[in-house]
């Protein structure tokens, strides 16, 4: 184990996979000389050269589609989309091409493409630059959606993504790039998709999150323990498609209460999917309706106080738990 930051764990994963498999190459806006907007690719251009670490023009649709094409022709491209906000102009390639070519071709072709993108608000970047669209991507059959909360998982999941024969949307919360954690050194350490992690155990309530919201759940669990004498299961989904509902259901059947936490808008959001599945599979075990703590239904404001109010907080999670007792 080595302690490192999330961004370094992500870089290590890419480095190791590039060393392991000559079919892997990277492309994206400013991933080369600049080192990546969030410094995830720093140093890789020097190590691997411009053929395998390719700076691209600002053409999200073009480069994601190029990734699809290279994948069809036997390569394993990683396309970095600077932030999830700009994935919106590449949705045609992600949704109409990458996610369904295997199906539409009757299984003839497959698209081993890794799309990395930074997500989340909280940096006063305003409404166009603060999206959390994990749930939107999870909506599409054919895509795998990975949302790590810890550096060790980020590395294991990203390495696993490079070995997946299908397109993977790998989403990194901007607030977590600097977060530190233990990372396994073993170059064969992979984290399997569709396996949630119980990062904390308790008996009174199940808190479910992914990516940044896992940390809110964790802090809320601290507050519940210290201030209210309550203990919580905290479940980190790690991938939201495939989704490990079994772990969630097992926990809820024990705690009889659940709060689902995400940054994305509550209305039509992914937390609603989890709440519905809990209702379908653990209705008789519930002592209270499943609660959702999520982003407020507004475009993200620029003002600091307003933005803080628009995002879910650990206090909101604690409040939701207390109101269901």
């Amino acid at each position: 184990m080595t302690e490192m930051r999330m961004r370094d764990a992500i870089r290590e994963a890419m480095r190791e996979e590039m060393l392991r498999d000559a079919r892997v190459f990277l492309m994206g806006e400013d991933i080369g000389a600049y080192g990546g907007s969030y410094a995830c690719t720093r140093g890789l251009l020097d190590e691997f050269g411009p053929e395998r670490v390719r700076d691209t023009p600002i053409s999200e649709s073009g480069i994601v589609g190029a990734g699809v094409g290279a994948a069809l022709a036997g390569f394993i491209p990683m396309v970095e989309i600077m932030t999830i906000n700009f994935s919106l102009v590449a949705l045609d390639q992600i949704v109409n091409n990458a996610s369904k070519l295997h199906y539409m071709s009757g299984g003839q072709v497959n698209v081993p493409l890794v799309l990395r993108m930074a997500s989340g608000g909280g940096s006063q970047l305003g409404a166009t630059h603060s999206h959390s669209l994990e749930g939107m991507f999870a909506h599409f059959p054919g895509l795998t959606v990975v949302c790590p909360a810890f550096p060790g998982d980020a590395k294991g999941l990203l390495k696993r993504s490079f070995r997946e024969p299908n397109p993977v949307v790998f989403i990194e919360h901007t607030a977590l790039y600097g977060a530190r954690g233990e990372v396994p050194d073993d170059p064969d350490h992979l984290v399997e998709f569709g396996q949630a992690a119980t990062v904390r155990s308790g008996k009174d309530v199940t808190l479910v999150g992914y990516s940044g919201s896992v940390h809110q759940c964790y802090r809320a669990a601290d507050m519940l323990a210290e201030e209210h004498g309550l203990t919580a299961d905290v479940i980190d989904l790690r991938t939201i498609r495939p989704l490990d509902m079994s772990s969630v259901i097992r926990s809820v059947r024990r705690t009889n209460r659940a709060v689902v936490v995400e940054d994305d808008w509550k209305f039509g959001g992914f937390a609603g999917e989890i709440a519905a599945q809990i209702m379908e599979r653990a209705f008789d075990w519930l002592d209270a309706p499943v609660a959702r703590v999520a982003g407020k239904d507004v475009p993200m404001p620029y003002n600091r106080n307003l933005e803080y109010a628009a995002l879910p907080s650990e206090e909101d999670v604690v409040e939701a738990v207390l109101s269901m007792l």
Binding site: S61, A71, D92, G106, G107, Q108, N110
Partner: protein, 337 residues
């Protein structure tokens, strides 16, 4: 070759007798296949959107005949002709249109999405210009693997208005990719004449991306063939992409649902006088390459092949409902590929 040159010069030997025979046969096959599709659509055997290629046969046959087996093709949704010209079995294309398991895509794709990997036919794509970035990736793969195969990307004039067209041409140009862009300009994007939708001629727009760009007669299969040969030689030598605008015309409506309110019958008749099949037939007769009985024998042959395709498609079962979830993702076996 200068940028924006209007007509390319012939390269190498003109197609020999045997090749011309094959052109004639393939164009007849496509025409007959498409006519049969129209019939099968009216009889309810083919459903969904059906875009026929009648009138444009010289584009598919001329361009695709110039390819090597290891070159890769992506095309738009008006794709039966391209698949046939590439040698995809008519039986399996028809079965796909009938949505049967014997279809190229096991009934998952339909008319607009024909795939046959064994022929390096990497799909018909139904989002206008959505496959153009994919061609960039194919070209990139060819370069990264230091192989000299090329990608042929076929699309309609309507694609030129899409952002993905411009992103793709720019990327192919700056990275010097072996992509031949082949625009089938049939004068219309659905009912909109291209004069009303583009600020400049297609080949001039492409020329702005610093690649050789030519406009050719897309209803002359020999010209299409030699222009594409020239283009392929150019891209294989590492000179970057090449653009061909082929002027052509579709005889039928945009799709089977099109009442054709936007053009006159006289206009269609005008183009029919320039019919690519008739033209090739006449010149081959003049050159003594075929006679009328040989021609009629070819017509009978493609008729029989298309009938056989219908019989094959009819006999092929529908996919079982238990296969609904097949092929959503490829099984993970510990390695990608």
């Amino acid at each position: 070759m200068s940028v924006g040159q209007a007509i390319p010069t012939m390269v190498g030997e003109p197609p020999d007798d045997e090749l011309q025979q094959r052109f004639l046969y393939e164009m007849l096959l496509i025409r007959r296949f498409e006519e049969k599709c129209a019939e099968m659509y009216t009889r309810g055997k083919i459903r969904g959107f059906l875009h026929l290629y009648t009138g444009e046969e010289a584009c598919a046959v001329g361009a695709i005949s110039a390819l090597r087996d290891d070159d890769k093709i992506v095309t738009h949704y008006r794709d039966h002709g391209h698949a046939l010209a590439r040698g995809v079995e008519p039986n399996r294309i028809m079965a796909e249109l009938f949505a049967r398991v014997g279809g190229t895509n096991e009934g998952r794709g339909g008319s607009m999405h024909i795939f046959d990997v064994s022929k390096n036919f990497l799909g018909g794509y139904a989002i206008v210009a959505g496959h153009m970035p994919i061609a960039v990736g194919l070209g990139l793969a060819a370069n990264l693997s230091h192989e000299d195969w090329a990608a042929l990307c076929i699309f309609g004039d309507g694609g030129v208005g899409e952002g993905e067209f411009h992103e793709a041409l720019n990327l192919a140009a700056i990275w010097k990719l072996p992509v031949v862009w082949f625009c089938e300009n049939n004068g219309y994007g659905m009912g909109v004449p291209f004069d009303d939708s583009l600020a400049n001629d297609v080949y001039k727009i492409a020329a702005a991306y610093q690649m050789p760009s030519v406009r050719i007669d897309g209803m002359d299969v020999l010209e299409v063939y030699s222009a594409t040969q020239l283009a392929l030689a150019h891209v294989r030598e590492g000179n970057g992409p090449y653009f061909i605008e082929a002027l052509t015309y579709r005889y039928r409506g945009h799709s089977m649902a099109d009442p054709e309110l936007y053009r006159t019958k006289a206009e269609v008749e005008e183009y029919r006088k320039r019919d690519a099949i008739e033209r090739l037939k006449r010149s081959m007769i003049a050159d003594g390459l075929i006679d009328e009985p040989t021609y009629q024998a070819l017509v009978a042959q493609v008729g029989a092949e298309v009938d056989e395709a219908v019989a094959f498609a009819d006999a092929s079962p529908e996919p079982g409902l238990h296969t609904l979830y097949d092929h959503i993702t490829k099984e993970y076996e510990g390695e990608s590929g």
